[in-house]
């Protein structure tokens, strides 16, 4: 090969390389920009939330706000005690969790380990369809079918209760829990199952003592994500929990109407005067919700992290 041709080729390769490098660089910058932007948006949201919430605390004691047992936002003077709302949210969420965890994990195990192939093919897409139903539609179903049913079944004054909300939320969290947990169970290597069966373990022992524990980190992630979806949910609780800002004081409060943090904001925001203390109080409620959600996610992360470490 003539030296001129060779030089030409080397030159071309060099130019290609710089072009390539430029492209890599640009892509890196764009990705970095996206990351910075999304963090900035979250920080800004938090800052605005903080600013508006603290506007309330100029005239209203934060202690009274957090521990007050009465939420009378339009009385004169207004009373903004959010304890009933916090407890309402808590009650509905706890009910949802108690229902969704065993049902979700049970269903996931059923689909992954027991259901015959053709049923699997039906159940998996079905779960995804349920996940895609807008929450207003679910809430409407809860309102028109579940609430009357619960009212008749338990002989209550109204079917719009914390229990009704909890059931609907559990229903919403289920597809997430089931599909992620099912993936986790499926990802357990076949060699574990074979090892267990070959030792004379029954199918159930194998599932319960080897497969499910081996999938536990994925299953916990599924549960956390499912619960995460339930906690932040607004439409369902707004429509089916009855919206009475009363203190849930005992276990049978589950069968009475409650009001949640999200429900309160959604319901009252449209009726407040911009810049009024009620308006700021709702931002303060938002701040509390933000903090709670953040804390739950953080705790969930810690649990998952611990679990992975110990594996």
């Amino acid at each position: 090969m003539a030296p001129g041709v060779l030089r030409h080729i080397i030159n071309r390769m060099g130019r290609l390389k710089t072009a390539q490098k430029l492209k890599e660089n640009l892509i890196g910058k764009i990705i970095l920009g996206c990351g910075v932007l999304s963090v900035a948006v979250v920080v800004l949201i938090f800052a605005f939330l903080l600013r508006d919430a603290f506007s309330l605390f100029g005239s209203y004691s934060p202690v009274d706000f957090l521990t007050g047992r009465k939420w009378y936002p339009i009385s004169e003077p207004p009373v903004f005690g959010i304890l009933p709302l916090v407890l309402g949210s808590l009650l509905v969420t706890v009910i949802a969790i108690l229902l969704a965890i065993p049902l979700g994990i049970g269903t996931a195990i059923y689909i992954a380990e027991i259901a015959p192939g053709w049923l699997k093919e039906i159940l998996k897409p079905l779960m995804e369809i349920v996940a895609a139903i807008p929450s207003v539609v679910l809430a409407f179903i809860g309102l028109t079918l579940l609430a009357p049913f619960i009212q008749d079944l338990l002989n209550l004054n109204t079917g719009l209760t914390a229990l009704t909300g909890g059931i609907m939320l559990a229903f919403m969290a289920l597809p997430t829990i089931v599909s992620i947990a099912e993936d986790a169970i499926n990802a357990v290597p076949r060699s574990y199952r074979e090892g267990s069966l070959a030792m004379g373990a029954t199918r159930w022992q194998t599932t319960g003592r080897v497969v499910v524990p081996a999938a536990m980190s994925g299953i916990s992630a599924a549960v956390m994500l499912g619960i995460g979806r339930a906690i932040g949910e607004t439409m369902v609780v707004l429509m089916v929990t009855g919206n009475a800002a009363v203190m849930p004081t005992s276990v049978d409060s589950a069968l009475k109407p409650v009001r949640t943090l999200t429900g309160t904001i959604a319901q009252e925001m449209g009726e407040t005067v911009f810049g009024s203390s009620h308006y700021f109080a709702l931002f303060a409620v938002g701040l509390v919700l933000f903090v709670i959600t953040f804390a739950v996610n953080w705790i969930a992360d810690q649990i998952l992290y611990r679990y992975r470490e110990s594996e």
């Binding site: 290597p189 060699s191 574990y192 199952r193 074979e194 090892g195 267990s196 069966l197 070959a198 030792m199 004379g200 373990a201 029954t202 022992q205 003592r209 080897v210 524990p213 081996a214 594996e311």
Partner: protein, 263 residues
């Protein structure tokens, strides 16, 4: 060798045909496994060695549609009879797999797994079983101070010996080993072979291996399997004392295979 000759047959295959769905994988297998010996099964890939092992603990039943014809006897009793419980059969016929497959649990919990599913729960009893099984598998010294650490942190060879200990803990009569050393280095392989040698006095071992030297080293009996044509079922071509198979086999195919001329 005379003593070995006199040993009783624990497993007998009589005219066994085997099908995966419609595919006939084995034809007319006749085999007697003698007590407290090591029997090696050799032969080219796909000739049905693993399938023969699966027949003995019915593990093929977890892999979909399969069919067995003929008789597989364990202590003279057909293991495919209606009244045989697969679960108790598998606790009598243990299996070590090609790839070490400890559970993602602690070393202790791996070995205690079998006794626990059998309902043995007292921790004193379990401690004893775990220690003894680990000693038999020649792993005790290396792990006795870290029984609570995860089995996943062991080396491949240690994991395989842990799997052996896990199987020993349920006190099987027979141990099936399907290429137990193929994922291991020579040192780890040596350790497994030593372990097999010491296990022989209490257990009957059947090992599948692609390593001719290993078959010659560890076994008293050897079976050579072969498929004549692609698509044909695998057959047991020759079976007998390892010393004979490796020095003066009756069949030309056996000699060719052992000397590395094909397969």
């Amino acid at each position: 060798m005379v003593a070995v000759e006199a040993a009783r047959s624990v497993v007998q295959l009589k005219g066994v045909d085997f099908y995966y769905g419609d595919f006939k994988a084995l034809e007319d297998i006749n085999l007697e496994i003698r007590e407290n010996t090591v029997t090696a099964l050799i032969g080219p890939s796909g000739c049905g060695k693993s399938t023969v092992l699966r027949l003995m603990n019915r593990m093929h039943e977890v892999m979909g549609k399969t069919r067995v014809k003929g008789e597989v006897l364990l202590d003279g009793k057909d293991i495919y009879a209606d009244d045989v419980d697969v679960v108790s059969l598998r606790s009598r016929v243990g299996e070590i797999f090609q790839k070490p497959n400890p559970f993602p649990k602690s070393i202790y919990d791996n070995v205690a797994y079998g006794p626990r599913i059998q309902g043995r729960k007292s921790s004193d009893e379990l401690d004893g079983i775990v220690e003894q099984a680990l000693k038999q598998a020649a792993l005790w010294k290396e792990v006795k101070n870290k029984l609570k650490t995860s089995a996943m942190e062991l080396s491949g060879g240690q994991q395989q010996r842990l799997c052996i200990a896990r199987t020993l803990a349920v006190e099987p009569e027979i141990i099936l080993m399907d290429e137990p050393c193929s994922a291991l280095d020579p040192v780890a392989t040596q350790q497994i072979e030593d372990t097999m040698d010491s296990l022989k006095k209490d257990y009957t071992i059947i090992i599948v291996t692609h390593n001719m030297q290993q078959a010659a080293r560890v076994s008293e009996y050897t079976g050579f399997m072969l498929i004549q044509e692609t698509g044909e079922p695998g057959r047991l071509v020759e079976y007998g004392l390892t010393s004979k198979i490796f020095t003066m086999p009756d069949r030309k195919e056996t000699e060719n295979y052992i000397t590395g001329r094909f397969g």
